[in-house]
C-alpha cells in the first residue's frame, strides 16, 4: 500500500508552493495584513507632514520603499513559525529531497502571497502621494526586483530567530541593516526616473544582487533552520 513511485524535483517545488497558497487561502490574514499594513503606514506620512504636492512627491519614493520594506519584514513572521511549532520543520529537514529547492519554493510562495499584492498596489499609493508619472513604472520594477531580495535576506533572519519567542523586533534589528543597500538602490532607481536620468545600470545592479541572493541565501536559510531546530 505504500507507493515507491517517486516524483521529480519540479513537482516537489510545485507542491510546496501550492501548499503555501493553500494556507494563505485558509487564513486570508496572511495576504491581507501585509497589504493593509502597507497602505495604512503609507497614509501615516501625509497625516504626519505637509500635504503640498511638491513635498509629497519628494518623500514619495522613500516612504513607499521604506513601508514596503517594513511590511515585507513583518510578514516574514508567518514564514517558518507555524512549521516550527507544529513540528513540520523537523520533517522538512529530514526529507531526502534537496533542501535548497524546498526552501527556495517556500520563499517563492511567501513572496507571491505577501509581496505581489504590495507591488500591484504600489502605483495607486504612489499616485496618492503625487509621485510624477515617470516614477511609477520605475517604482514597480524596482519593487519587483527588490522585494524578492528582501524576502530572501529576511528569511535568513527569520530562520535564525524562529526558535525564540517574541522575535518580532529582534528580527527587525537583525535584518534592517542588511536591507539598506536594497533600499538605496530601489529609491535610487525611482529618483533617477523622476529626474529623467538613466537607471538601467541601477536595475542591472539590483538584478545581480537578486541573483546572488537566490543562489546563496537558501544555503544560509537551511543552515539557520538546522540551528533553530537543534
Amino acid at each position: 500500500m505504500t507507493t515507491e513511485a517517486t516524483a521529480g524535483l519540479g513537482s516537489v517545488m510545485v507542491a510546496t508552493v501550492r501548499r503555501e497558497l493553500l494556507l494563505a487561502m485558509r487564513s486570508p490574514g496572511d495576504v491581507i495584513n501585509p497589504l493593509m499594513f502597507f497602505i495604512i503606514a503609507v497614509t501615516l506620512f501625509p497625516l504626519s507632514g505637509g500635504v503640498e504636492d511638491a513635498f509629497l512627491a519628494t518623500i514619495a519614493p522613500g516612504v513607499i520603499w521604506v513601508t514596503a520594506l517594513l511590511a515585507v519584514m513583518l510578514s516574514l513572521d508567518s514564514l517558518f513559525r507555524a512549521d516550527y511549532e507544529d513540528g513540520n520543520l523537523e520533517q522538512l529537514l529530514m526529507s531526502p529531497q534537496p533542501l535548497y529547492f524546498l526552501v527556495l519554493s517556500k520563499v517563492l510562495g511567501h513572496w507571491l502571497m505577501a509581496c505581489l499584492p504590495i507591488i500591484i498596489l504600489a502605483p495607486v499609493l504612489a499616485l496618492m502621494l503625487k509621485l510624477p508619472g515617470a516614477g511609477i513604472s520605475a517604482l514597480v520594477v524596482s519593487l519587483a526586483l527588490g522585494t524578492p531580495i528582501l524576502v530572501l535576506i529576511g528569511a535568513i533572519g527569520m530562520a535564525l530567530t524562529v526558535g525564540l519567542s517574541r522575535s518580532g523586533l529582534l528580527l527587525a534589528v537583525l535584518i534592517l541593516p542588511l536591507y539598506v543597500p536594497v533600499l538605496i538602490f530601489g529609491t535610487g532607481v525611482v529618483d533617477a526616473a523622476i529626474n529623467d536620468m538613466a537607471y538601467a545600470g541601477l536595475l542591472a545592479l539590483m538584478g545581480a544582487m537578486l541573483a546572488l541572493a537566490i543562489s546563496l541565501s537558501p544555503l544560509a536559510i537551511v543552515a539557520a533552520l538546522r540551528i533553530s531546530v537543534n
Binding site: S27, G29, I32, N33, M36, T43, P46, L47, V51, L56
Partner: protein
C-alpha cells in the same frame, strides 16, 4: 418591547421574519432605484458648473451615508453581544461588516471618479477623504480580526470589543483629521458643500436612490444573516426540517 427584543434575539424568528420581508423589500428597492436612476440620469438637468458628471452624486452620497450607518448598527449589535450575550446580534454584526466596507469602498471609488473632472485629480488629502479612508481601514481591521479566530464565541466578543473601541475613536479621528486638514490647506473640499445649493430637480432623485440604497443594504443584510443563521444552526431541528422541505421542493 423586551418581548420583541427577545424574539429578535432568536435566530429562527429572525430567519422567518427575513423571509417574510424580502419580497416587499425587493419590490420597493427596485422601484426606488429605477425611478431614481432613470430620473437622475435621463431627466434631471445638467449642473451649471459640473455639467453631467455631477450625477455620480446619486451613488456617492448614499454610499457615504451607508458607511456611517453601518458602523453605528455594528456598534449597537456589539453592545448587545457583550452585555446580553445575544448570539443574533453577533450574526448581524458579522453580516454588516463587509457591507459597510463595500459601501466605503464604493464611496471612495465614486468620489475619486468624481474628483477627476471636478478637482482635476482623483485623490487629495482632504479631511473628509482621509477620514473615509481611515474608516475603511477600521472596517477591514474588524473583518480581519474575525477571520483570525477559530472559535466563534471568542471571535464574536473580540470583534465586539474592537467595534466599541472604534466607536469611541471615530469622532476623535474625524475631529483630528478635520483639524489637521484645516491646518495644512482649506479650499480643497470644494464641491462637498456648495453641492447642497443645487436645484431640487437634482436632489429629489438623490432621495430616491438614497432610499434605494438603504433598501439594498437591508436586503444584503438579511440574505447574509440568513446564510450565517443556517450555518450556525445547521444541527438544530428547524433547520433540518427547512432543508428537507427545500430539498423536496427542488
Amino acid at each position: 418591547m423586551w418581548q420583541w427584543l427577545y424574539k429578535l434575539g432568536s435566530p429562527r424568528w429572525f430567519y422567518e421574519l427575513g423571509d417574510r420581508c424580502l419580497p416587499w423589500l425587493w419590490g420597493i428597492t427596485v422601484f426606488l432605484l429605477v425611478v431614481g436612476v432613470v430620473w437622475g440620469l435621463a431627466f434631471a438637468p445638467p449642473d451649471y458648473q459640473m455639467g453631467d458628471n455631477y450625477r455620480i452624486i446619486y451613488m456617492h452620497v448614499p454610499s457615504a451615508g451607508l458607511m456611517k450607518g453601518c458602523f453605528y448598527m455594528m456598534a449597537i449589535c456589539s453592545a448587545a453581544v457583550l452585555i446580553w450575550k445575544i448570539k443574533m446580534a453577533d450574526i448581524v454584526a458579522k453580516a454588516i461588516a463587509p457591507i459597510g466596507a463595500m459601501a466605503t469602498l464604493l464611496m471612495l471609488a465614486s468620489g475619486s471618479l468624481w474628483g477627476i473632472p471636478t478637482w482635476g485629480t482623483w485623490w487629495i488629502w482632504d479631511a473628509r477623504l482621509t477620514s473615509s479612508l481611515l474608516q475603511f481601514f477600521i472596517y477591514m481591521g474588524i473583518i480581519v480580526l474575525r477571520s483570525a479566530f477559530d472559535s466563534q464565541d471568542s471571535a464574536a466578543r473580540a470583534c465586539a470589543v474592537l467595534t466599541l473601541v472604534g466607536v469611541v475613536n471615530i469622532p476623535i479621528i474625524e475631529y483630528s483629521v478635520e483639524w489637521w486638514n484645516t491646518l495644512h490647506q482649506g479650499a480643497s473640499s470644494l464641491g462637498m458643500r456648495d453641492a447642497s445649493a443645487n436645484p431640487p430637480e437634482i436632489w429629489i432623485p438623490a432621495f430616491f436612490t438614497g432610499f434605494g440604497f438603504i433598501g439594498l443594504f437591508f436586503i444584503g443584510l438579511i440574505l447574509r444573516s440568513q446564510n450565517e443563521i443556517l450555518l450556525r444552526e445547521r444541527r438544530t431541528r428547524w433547520v433540518r426540517d427547512l432543508v428537507a422541505r427545500e430539498g423536496t421542493r427542488a
